[in-house]
Symmetry: C2
Subunit: 197 residues, 2 copies
Amino acid sequence: MAKEKIIDKGAAIRQAALTMIVDEGLHGLSMQRLAAKAGVSPGTIYLYFENRLDMLHQLYLEVRQRSDQAMLDGFSATMDFAAGLRVLWHNTFRYFVAHPIEFRFTEQFINSPLVAAVLDQEDPNARQQRRDFYARAIQNEQIADLPVEVYWAIAFAPLYQFIRFALEGSLHLPGDFQQLESKLEITLTRVIKALQK
Amino acid sequence: MAKEKIIDKGAAIRQAALTMIVDEGLHGLSMQRLAAKAGVSPGTIYLYFENRLDMLHQLYLEVRQRSDQAMLDGFSATMDFAAGLRVLWHNTFRYFVAHPIEFRFTEQFINSPLVAAVLDQEDPNARQQRRDFYARAIQNEQIADLPVEVYWAIAFAPLYQFIRFALEGSLHLPGDFQQLESKLEITLTRVIKALQK
DNA sequence: TAAAAATGAATGAACGTTCATTCATTTGAT
DNA sequence: ATCAAATGAATGAACGTTCATTCATTTTTA
């Protein structure tokens, strides 16, 4: 009943584009070489995307949507602060360790001027959930009443730096993932301490 | 005795290149448009740089050298941990708030695959000083005996995130810089708390 | 006036994008 | 059940432009 192999050209293009960007940079993505790598003709790309810039925007929004979704798995803004932050941290860490190409693509994109064009198109639900969580934690006196930039810089920047380390390192060695998760836990514990009243 | 105006073409090229990259991305830097913007002919660029890639590498290493120098101003690895970290944070913050283009260029570059080619050419003295400072702080029990990734993620990631916020925000408004420095100080205090034994 | 610095026209390769064309599949009339 | 008509996904050659780079020539400096 099921087809033996459905060749989804749109998916092939997306996949090839991400790895090309990660390997060669945003400037290294040429439409003709992308077509060759995706096993598709140049014209085909333009059936799926309006143009090169539109493709980059779409790629980012899709990748970002998926990681935002993964981050919120099992999370609720009404959770106890330490428990909620732990969920956010572990979800994010696991998702990006499993999807390193998406992590590096995201980092390249958000550090390029391209990001300005899509900032307002990011998932508003994810954003709102994180906001509510922060507001509630202050209200319940689970964390100090810190300015939002201070809160954000302490609560999340170490997480992303830690993921960067994890992806640079020797993740292929056995046992490394567990060791990393335990170091992540140490980091998280101290971050929570830093935010408390 | 001094010339009225010394036109340093090398400096004009470097300056124009940085702003072009910040405004249009690494892929937006074309040699011909760069020449036009720097008020120089295309061939002139090749008197100062071997080729486009060499220029990007040199730009990064020079920018990085200057920010590393600024960061270490008045710092010594033998300082008390809290005092030393405060010097590093404020130096870095002030330098990049005064040089936003260099900050954004650096962020773009280190998040691109180009960084791999120059990682081993970064200032080894700056690196060693930071290492010594970390080792001493543990030895003197001024901070907990944390894995280096944990230490680094907590001690510096919030600083760079905070600079990112500062550069996005309305720095041109009067009084904003002082307000930012006081928020930086709040962040630093909590980071130090997170690292202590 | 000799040397050094700078020029800018020229080059071929590569770029993003277009579009006339193909053809396997789906539709609908019989 | 048959088959002509219609569809639209996919192609890839071709377009005009822009790319990084070169080098014979001119300008500036000392």
